[in-house]
């Protein structure tokens, strides 16, 4: 097992800077998800950890050991590829035995290790099957087994569930999480799917445009996004953000949203910090925290999406559009006007110029 420490890690491809000065510490045995939209630099980060790409500058440490110049075959890293990269011309057994065989392990030793890992991953009955005719969940286990047999200190997984259909993904997520508990390795998991990151990871590193935006537990990034990007990216749908100016009222500090009117008063702690900042702000709240109220923001219903368990109601238009998530039996339809109010405790405020969160004081 091994901790990973990325120090000021930067990668450029010509003029394009794929990763900008990334600092990240991944603890020993931790399951870290690198989450972000395509092109955010997460795969580049992963490839550099694996040694497939050399960093332009900065350092990668495994424990205390600097990985600069260590070739990828010698880093003790297990890698599970997006499409698993199973050797299709071999049997499951040959796939599992590949690593030890290449390192010149004795036949008996290889057999013992293959049998052990196959037992653990419930692959024993499939050992002599050709690897080109396996279902995805078996492929995933073979891919993990093939790496795990080398007892790597670190496991890297590159979007392993992106080729799997939605129904099966839930099964695979559970399976992966259980496997990680079994192996207890440090795992770095690259994904663009927040659901995967949320459900499996101990901590999530949210990335965008080659910049690390926030690192925290799934609930931290959900409840207290560090900036506007994270607020919008995490959550389905993301956080509602309305531009406005702080204004004093007889009930406390409120945000003047212009044509939308004024918001309910902020909580005292938040009001304190917002007063200190005094800039133009984004007033943010989660769609799932909105409640219909007597007083609050009065907005026309523009669209209603019923998605089974819940209903997403789109309110307003353009800059001031807001999404609200309700239980299915909410009686709103297009053309009606809804009065909504987010509870003061769930409101987050962001500086409109820097995009950074204004933390409650």
């Amino acid at each position: 097992m091994s901790a990973i420490h990325l120090k000021n890690l930067t990668k450029s491809f010509g003029d394009f800077r794929a990763l900008k000065a990334m600092d990240l510490e991944i603890a020993d045995g931790e399951f870290m998800a690198l989450l972000g939209p395509s092109g955010c630099g997460k795969s580049t980060t992963m490839n550099m950890i694996a040694g497939m790409e050399e960093p332009t500058s900065g350092k990668i440490l495994f424990g205390e050991r600097d990985m600069a110049g260590v070739p990828m075959g010698r880093r003790g890293v297990g890698f599970v590829f997006q499409n698993y990269a199973i050797f299709t011309h071999m049997t499951v057994r040959q796939n599992l035995a590949y690593g030890p065989r290449m390192r010149g392990a004795a036949k008996a030793e290889i057999d013992r290790r293959v049998d052990a890992i196959a037992e653990m991953l419930q692959l024993s009955p499939l050992l002599d099957r050709k690897a080109d005719r396996l279902s995805v969940n078996i492929l995933q286990r073979v891919a993990i087994g093939r790496s795990a047999i080398m007892e790597p200190a670190i496991f890297l997984l590159d979007e392993p569930l992106s080729n799997v259909d939605a129904a099966f993904r839930a099964v695979m997520r559970t399976e992966l999480k259980q496997l990680q508990r079994q192996f207890r390795q440090t795992m770095v998991y690259v994904t663009h799917d927040q659901l995967e990151a949320m459900t499996m990871a101990d901590r999530i590193a949210v990335m965008d445009h080659g910049v690390l935006q926030q690192v925290g537990t799934p609930l931290e990034v959900y409840n207290n996004p560090a900036n506007v990007f994270v607020a919008r990216f995490i959550g389905a749908p993301g956080m509602n953000l309305l531009r406005g100016k702080p204004a004093e009222s007889d009930r406390g500090l409120v945000i003047d949203l212009g044509p939308l009117g004024i918001t309910p008063p902020l909580s005292d702690e938040l009001a304190f910090s917002v007063r200190a900042a005094r800039a133009e702000v984004f007033y943010g709240f989660r769609p799932e925290h909105i409640a219909l109220a007597e007083r609050g923001l009065s907005m026309p219903v523009s669209f209603v999406e019923r998605i089974g368990a819940r209903t997403i109601v789109h309110l307003g238009e353009g800059e001031s559009a807001v999404k609200a998530v309700f239980e299915n039996h909410v009686g709103l339809s297009v053309g009606q006007t809804a009065i909504v109010a987010p509870p003061a405790s769930s409101v987050r405020v962001f500086d409109a110029t820097t995009g950074l969160a204004v933390r409650a004081g």
Binding site: M72, G73, F87, T88, H89, Y98, M102, S147
Partner: protein
């Protein structure tokens, strides 16, 4: 026939089983649509073959004064085939062809594979080298024959370069020495056909999945181990295709060789094609030629069938 009856009776039993009958209908339509093409193929391949078979059991020649369809008048049972078995010139030509093949095809394969491996990665000037490398393949074989005929003259460039290297005049009579002539012919063949091997093998090499190579590297495989455990097995089908093409083509080696040596000196470079050519144009015993050609066709068919079997076997495991 019974299968057809079965589908019909099944059809009568209910509309649920309509599918086999539909497939039958489709087959019949397909047969009708492809009929013209099939007749054409029949005339192109089957007719000459049958004609050849027919002539090969007669003493017919264009000088016999009767049309080939009347060749039965000169029926000689299987004398042509028994003659062939005893024809030492035929057997030594066959042996020579085999030697050329056993030297040229592996040489072309290894050179082609080495070059393909080189060209699978990027390097400066790759596109230019690539074009230059493919050029020999585009040269008309007869022209290539003249080129090498010139190159290997005793006062030619090959000897000239050799004398500069050695530092004294070299006057090797390449094309008039029985052993050297064969070597010169093989060099010309390797020069001309390595590019084809290279091209086919490069296509195969590029098709090897990159992520599987990376996975192998991450599991600690060295470059050589990756080559033997991933690249070669994945290229199996394409290697068999490339070898089969070259074995069959090389067996028929003729134009370049004929222009360089004319099969000589003596019969030193007389391969099977040259031998057939001479028997056809000089001896004019076409019944015998037909017998030789048929024998060779059988040999090559065995090679082709073997290659296709191996391919089908490899095809069970698509890369």
């Amino acid at each position: 026939m019974s299968a057809v009856m079965a589908t019909i009776s099944e059809d009568k039993m209910g509309a649920v089983h309509a599918k086999p009958a539909q497939r039958d209908e489709g087959m019949r339509l397909g047969f009708r649509l492809t009929l013209p093409a099939q007749i054409l193929v029949l005339f192109i391949s089957a007719f000459p073959l049958l004609m050849q078979l027919y002539i090969s059991v007669t003493d017919w020649s264009p000088l016999s004064g009767v049309g080939w369809w009347n060749a039965w008048e000169m029926w000689n049972s299987f004398a042509n085939y028994t003659d062939l078995a005893a024809d030492t010139r035929f057997w030594s030509a066959l042996q020579r062809t085999a030697i050329v093949m056993l030297v040229c095809v592996p040489a072309e394969f290894l050179l082609g594979l080495a070059l393909a491996t080189l060209f699978a990665d990027d390097f400066p000037g790759k596109r230019i080298f690539y074009s230059i490398l493919l050029m020999p393949m585009m040269v008309v074989p007869a022209v290539a024959g003249y080129m090498f005929f010139m190159l290997f003259q005793s006062g030619g460039p090959v000897n000239d370069i050799l004398s500069r290297i050695v530092g004294m005049p070299v006057t090797i009579a390449w094309l008039s020495d029985p052993n050297l002539a064969l070597i010169a012919v093989m060099i010309a063949d390797i020069w001309q056909w390595t590019p084809l091997m290279f091209l086919i093998l490069l296509a195969g090499l590029v098709g090897v999945p990159d992520d599987q190579m990376k996975a192998a590297t991450l599991l600690g495989a060295s470059a050589w181990q990756r080559f033997t455990t991933i690249v070669l097995p994945k290229m199996k089908t394409i290697i068999i295709i490339a070898l089969a093409i070259r074995v069959i083509e090389n067996f028929k080696i003729f134009d370049t060789l004929y222009i360089m040596t004319g099969g000589g000196p003596g019969v030193a470079t007389e391969t099977i094609s040259v031998y057939i050519y001479k028997v056809t144009t000089q001896d004019l015993i076409w019944g015998y030629v037909a017998a030789i050609a048929l024998a060779i066709l059988i040999v090559l068919s065995i090679v082709a069938v073997y290659a296709m079997r191996r391919m089908a076997k490899a095809g069970e495991v698509p890369a």
